[in-house]
Symmetry: C2
Subunit: 283 residues, 2 copies
Amino acid sequence: MEKRKRIAIVGVGLIGGSLAIQLHEKKLSSKLIGVDANQEHARKAVELELVDETMSLDDAIVQSDVIILAIPVDILVKLLPSILDKIEQQIVIDLGSTKAQSIGAIKNHPKRGRYVATHPMWGTEYSGPTAAMRGAYENKAVIICNAEESDTDALEWTKHMYKKIGMHILEMEAKAHDLHAAYVSHISHITSFALANTVLEKEKEQQTIFELASAGFESTVRLAKSNPAMWVPIFMQNKENVLDVLKEHISQLTRFKESIEKDDNEYLLRLIEEANKIRKIIK
Amino acid sequence: MEKRKRIAIVGVGLIGGSLAIQLHEKKLSSKLIGVDANQEHARKAVELELVDETMSLDDAIVQSDVIILAIPVDILVKLLPSILDKIEQQIVIDLGSTKAQSIGAIKNHPKRGRYVATHPMWGTEYSGPTAAMRGAYENKAVIICNAEESDTDALEWTKHMYKKIGMHILEMEAKAHDLHAAYVSHISHITSFALANTVLEKEKEQQTIFELASAGFESTVRLAKSNPAMWVPIFMQNKENVLDVLKEHISQLTRFKESIEKDDNEYLLRLIEEANKIRKIIK
């Protein structure tokens, strides 16, 4: 039987807290240590029994076999080199939504091999330890980036962990990851934020929105509730890809605008029929 | 006990078919007659037992107490005057997503009072009789427009029907309806169509979208599967409001673009915090 590990979760919010639940349920951890700069979140994570105890990052590094980083990607890039400075043979795994900058930050670090860069494709629009959910990550994809730069044992344990919590693993170079993430995740969030701002700006009768909002509206706007502390650094770190997709999106919206302005039913029909092709991809 | 009525459903697709199920379950109908220009849909609606039988519109008008129109709004505007020409004391109810044009089309018709203009705020991205669902409309809002132009008995029965199938009723002038519908429904669909086109245009590796797509992406893009025959006329009939909201949306997206281009973290943070205010409205 696989020996269970002492696992530190740095950032016990939605992402880290939900992972902690799964690590315990799947018997991957002998002990779960929480680390959080937000003292209220740290306290809450213990109260909710997401982790066994909390301590400082330095103490957690010493007392763990595995250190999992579930923190905003700007803090990750700053923290990662100093964590690698301090470890012996611990495995360090991050769950960030962008990958090129964090991998770039420790490219030539002597402990590079202990680090495994991953992105589990799961989240909700809520945040903090109270948003942590049971059964998260199941049947979702996780991307492992630049796997060949990680030590074999670190990589193998990371894969074992993700399989055990029900994820299917894809491997990808960090650059390809950041490009695809812009399409399938980042642009959806920008669209939703901008849609919320549009409606809040134009529709002053908020009670009317509340009464009329249908499932379709909620579906497109729900991501607008997402945490800015998480998303600002994602957009900034993935600036080039995000801008590229965002410009295309504005240009696509402009086509809808022009077809309606010109009463061009044929063109509008073609645009919508084209969009319907998403059925092939999203069942 | 309220006498059950012979009800004709014109358009036995997602909207009309789902209503037919509810009308039967709530014992509002003594007979359900289907009318559909698409013979395959008509046949399917009988096979699925959404309606008891199908017939021509003219026959259905003669054999019904209530005629419910669940057809694309361009066809509705063309058909409505001729239906009013043919009725005696039947009630005519439409379920269209725009209201000003249909109401305008029969404004001075001698049978205006028999017509009740409504918009139940429910739908899915699927279409046709096979998309009809049980329990649709429950706990959703329905808007009745220009109620004072309808005869009292027609209005009262329509309200009775909607209450019986679990909807809460709002009354509104057609112009106000079309404005609010642009915010809480029409713009969401355009956003979703344009997002699908953006991703399909930029992301040539469709298998990658399929593997990586998370719940967030599916949520924002699912409306892009919606039926063009329904949505082209909605956008065109509500042109002025839709363009107004769409221009604001493009301008909001441009703010996101500019904040990222200029590495203006502060501004991007403010934009997202503003968007988070949608939490007040959508739980």
